[in-house]
Amino acid sequence: MRPFAYERAQSAEAALGAVSGTSADAGQPTRAEAQYIAGGTNMTDYMKLGVARPAKLIDVNRLQDPALRRIEFDDSGLRFGALVRMSEAEKHPDVKRRLPVIAQSLMLAASPQIRNMASLAGNVLQRTRCEYFREITWPCNKREPGSGCSALDGVNRQHAVLGVSDACIATYHGDFAQALIALDASLELVGGRGRRSIPFAELHRLPGDTPHIETALSPDEMITAIVVQAPPWAARSTYLKIRDRQSYAFSLASAAVALDMDGDTVREARVALGGLATVPWRAREAEAALQGKRLDEDTARAAAGAAFADARPREHNAFKIALGQETLVRALIETRDMEI
């Protein structure tokens, strides 16, 4: 592992100060010389593999602002401090009751040990586990821009079918992000240029020709809070995750669904798909197909078809289209049938 300087920041301002003056590598936060570390479950793994090579690690776990560790709620929604751990959020009674899709997405995301460690902000910034990205001897446009994509014609069973490009088909594996994008969450950020708020949907960037540019953050920016609206109907929401084994695995296909129902008719549907796309994936075509319709097996299936109309499979992952559709149909029906 590359030697690094370690700094423990007490305040966001001190953390930002620790970043300033280090090389930002043309504005790519994931390749910047200075990196923030919270839970570390992704960062330590990638530092051991040589995928992440920071010269400086800034430990943000002891930032003193108590709001960073708090889950606050009011009539309109919930505000998660960036340093809240996954296990704290998933068992919070208000999260379970008002936004079950969030609690379930966290509970199904990783082992209990990892959920005790990982921060919510770190979770949404987790990087792909594409096997070719992880192993530094392979060409990878995301890790080494311009080197090529080994997955396109390699073993690509785990790879994405939505949001892909000719430069990258690496899957975004996170679960929590699917619940957040479905519920129109937003992020509070702090950086050298001050504080700002962005829609969660703008955090992750499609790979396009520049898969190494993964987020809209500047290198010094950090997430301070995740804000989620919680209208009463969001209690009717589910996260369904399909894996190779029953537990503790990344999804092959998952669906985050929230339904605003008027009897049997869909007033508004929120749908996101995980394990299938290069970024957290809002399935707006499926939502449009459901709006104003009576939700039954047929309309659910039509919506699932719409969600994958633009899917682009490779040699080993075409099964994900059928699997993703079946996952979404089941999630829609199960969410419809919830008693709230």
Partner: protein
């Protein structure tokens, strides 16, 4: 390590260290000192400088002088001489390195020791009573033959204790789900579930 040649971090061999520590009464505060020069605590601006890390391991105070790249797992095994905690995959996939930090189960391979400065760490060595009586979970693993090769067992036991303490061991299905981060290549899973059931009932009665 580029600048520090491999060396005995305490200036004594692990075996010598173990015999020394074993001869100390359990209540005696044990401070492990490094042979290296004292380094500034917490912040290490110079990547090649060692960092001083203080933590409690099994209710004994430790002071270790560590390369900041040292994981908590390697600090426990190679610097504190507590080899009960096992290194399986070293990438957060198997759970063999599970320990309790401030009462919560974590993967000691996935955190740098310097980040745990001030923490209270509990390892499998800290479970038995001073008179040698095993923790109910340790005894239950023996009673139920809940292992074959035993390599994953310290991590299984630490995780299982947390699983019961969290209240996630009510049903066999819960036990299986909440123990899914601990892999057993010998596939002793049915007996592990039985052991946790037994220990759960004993811990609740106590």
């Amino acid at each position: 390590m580029q600048s520090h040649p491999p060396s005995e971090p305490h200036g004594i061999s692990r075996r010598g260290f173990l015999s020394v520590s074993a001869s100390l009464a359990a209540a005696t505060p044990l401070v492990v000192r490094s042979a290296e020069a004292a380094a500034p605590a917490a912040d290490a601006q110079d990547p090649d400088a060692a960092a001083e890390v203080f933590f409690s391991i099994n209710n004994q105070p430790y002071r270790l002088s560590l390369d900041v790249r040292t994981t908590l797992l390697d600090a426990l095994r190679d610097h504190a001489g507590l080899t009960g905690t096992k290194k399986g995959c070293d990438h957060g996939q198997c759970g063999a390195c599970t320990v309790l930090v401030d009462g919560k189960r974590v993967l000691s391979c996935m955190t740098f020791a310097v980040m745990q400065d001030g923490a209270e760490v509990t390892t499998v060595e800290g479970l038995a009573a001073p008179d040698g009586t095993l923790h109910p979970m340790q005894q239950a693993f023996i009673d139920n033959d809940a292992f074959q090769c035993g390599y994953c067992t310290p991590g299984q036991i630490m995780s299982a204790i947390a699983c019961v303490n969290e209240g996630n061991a009510d049903t066999d299905a819960d036990i299986r789900e909440y123990m899914s981060g601990n892999l057993c290549r010998c596939a002793a899973y049915p007996n592990i579930v039985a052991a946790i059931r037994q220990a759960r009932d004993e811990i609740r009665r106590a």
